[in-house]
Symmetry: C4
Subunit: 200 residues, 4 copies
């Protein structure tokens, strides 16, 4: 009973991904305004919508990639469970900096808000890379049916994530809005295709 | 490993549907009142109950139809996963305009609140139709065991959704209360029977 | 494809039960107090703990009974799905009157708060009884392997629920605290044994 | 139909563990500050991050151990379901004292906050030990394939939990910060290895 199957690990991870994504909506709020100003207020809070869409798609893409990679992994040990728990801890934290971005973007304080956001995503990329390297090194947790070619394909899928989120983090210090938009573009266009092109 | 099975897609979608529906209750609040006025306050906030019931049943019906249609789909590709993610993004957003309806209906600002609500549901209908058209066109993702008659039956189930939510959206500009009640009626009576009659 | 299996129905129901129970904790709050008064404040809000425990165990027992009864049911039709959706709508609403009880019990307004709470639970008992009667009448949705004796046993398990929640509802008008305590006692002691003794 | 399989018990428990962990993030908040002070405010609230990480990892470890032990259990009876429900009730309550620790640590009131936190975790350890003792005594709910050696190994895994959380509880009265840090260290390092070394 020393090694643990991956079914429960996936169920718990699925739950955290789905809940974290769905909680994002709670962070959107309108300031109490008279009804006559509501239409204006709903347009004024566009950074909330941008932050919501960016974080939702980012969590969705992490979730898709997490499952994709779990298909190559056939068992879990104590260290892997712990790294996975840290990864989930970071993913479940995303609604907090998302709220900061929603509230402070395009105003004073947007720098600190977006740096906190980008730091959370960079840490996610670090933990996720660690998670994969741990499972993959010496085929520690890899199913025997997975070929070396498959593993290299997943490696190529991981390659862009860490440097790209490092770029987002640096960009956050110079142009917070550009950093958020780049995050959205990465989640919507680049990272999914990187993973999937790598499979060829 | 290029195409992806649908089990995880359904698990993640199930999670988002169930969580979004259950989070709706958090949007109901009473203003802090002295205890003696609580009974009065609980009757005064009837728009909150109407908004809650309307959104809960709407999400429930989308969930039932999503599963019903997934039974005809045997695989997912990258584009389909992405459209599904956008659909979930919209469903998970529903608690926000629901809160607006709960707070502003029957007061100044109800127009903006219900337009935002109807726009969210119309976008949902657009994304959901796109989701089905993508899977169905040229039987791109359809299981071979599903007959053309089954597909046309599902097509007929989809047919009313988009025009009906367009009507709700237009109505929201003229009579916000009527638009909310029509949304409830659609979810409770029309859309389920449309889908299921279509199966004959 | 006219009738629908029960697996997805159970998955969605499980999700709503688990989320509604876990959201209850969000309703507990301390008024902002100076740190020196925190210990006193944490004792003063005992009605919040009572309301939390009562609602959590009640939802847990409904969940256990829901599963127990689903084992006799082999399929779902449109009406059954809709009744189940209304039942979940009511269960997911429980956190709202729970918050009212937490805030108003032992103060002015406790009557309205507990009446709202008891009404929600009484409606739940009505919907749940309807749910079972619909599936059971003429063995409409019952698996052929389930004996008439099994069905009568489940009937006996259902028998006490509706009258007992009616008693709680009436009691709420006279003694709100007693009504909450009776609800807790029912969930913790009576209803589980009624269901399970009935199986003999 | 008197005894109940464990699949649904695990699904409901999984849901509550995952949701309770993910809700923790909602307890983190910044006081409304001018944007210029946001960076300072985000550093000032480090107790929120400490409380979040401690509770998330603690719930994650309970979840891992819960599953590990469920593998030895093949059925559930009414009493076991009820003890499990009380355990989940306590786990789902963790976000509340976590919020207290986040708000009051390093200020006046930290004593009451951390005592409430430690009391919740101690009660969790009591209920969890009771849960295992009930299932294990006389092999009441144990699968026949599980050896006595396996049971003793799980016993050894349980042994440290209760005394360690008692130590945390006592420490909370003298040094709240040390009590929180000890809780984090236990979850991150000691309890997982105790469980897993015990398997040898």
């Amino acid at each position: 009973m020393h090694e643990i199957g991956t079914t429960r690990l996936e169920a718990f991870s699925d739950g955290v991904f789905a809940i974290a994504a769905t909680l994002l909506v709670l962070e959107i709020g309108v300031h109490t305004v008279g009804g006559a100003q509501l239409g204006h207020e709903l347009r004024r809070i566009w950074p909330s919508y941008l932050a919501y869409v960016t974080s939702f798609i980012t969590i969705g893409i992490i979730w898709i990639n997490h499952h994709h990679n779990m298909r190559a992994i056939e068992r879990a040990d104590r260290t892997f469970l712990f790294i996975n728990l840290l990864l989930l801890l970071d993913v479940a934290f995303i609604p907090f900096p998302t709220k900061l971005v929603a509230e402070y973007l395009r105003g004073s304080g947007e720098g600190a808000a977006v740096v906190a956001y980008a730091a959370t995503l960079l840490l996610m990329a670090v933990l996720y890379t660690l998670w994969w390297r741990y499972a993959r090194t010496g085929r520690r947790l890899i199913a025997p049916t997975v070929s070396e070619g498959d593993l290299r394909a997943i490696d190529r899928g991981f390659a862009p994530g860490l440097p790209l989120y490092a770029v987002v983090f640096v960009l956050a210090f110079f142009s917070p809005l550009a950093a958020v938009i780049l995050t959205l573009v990465l989640a919507a266009f680049y990272l999914p295709s990187a993973t999937l092109f790598a499979e060829r």
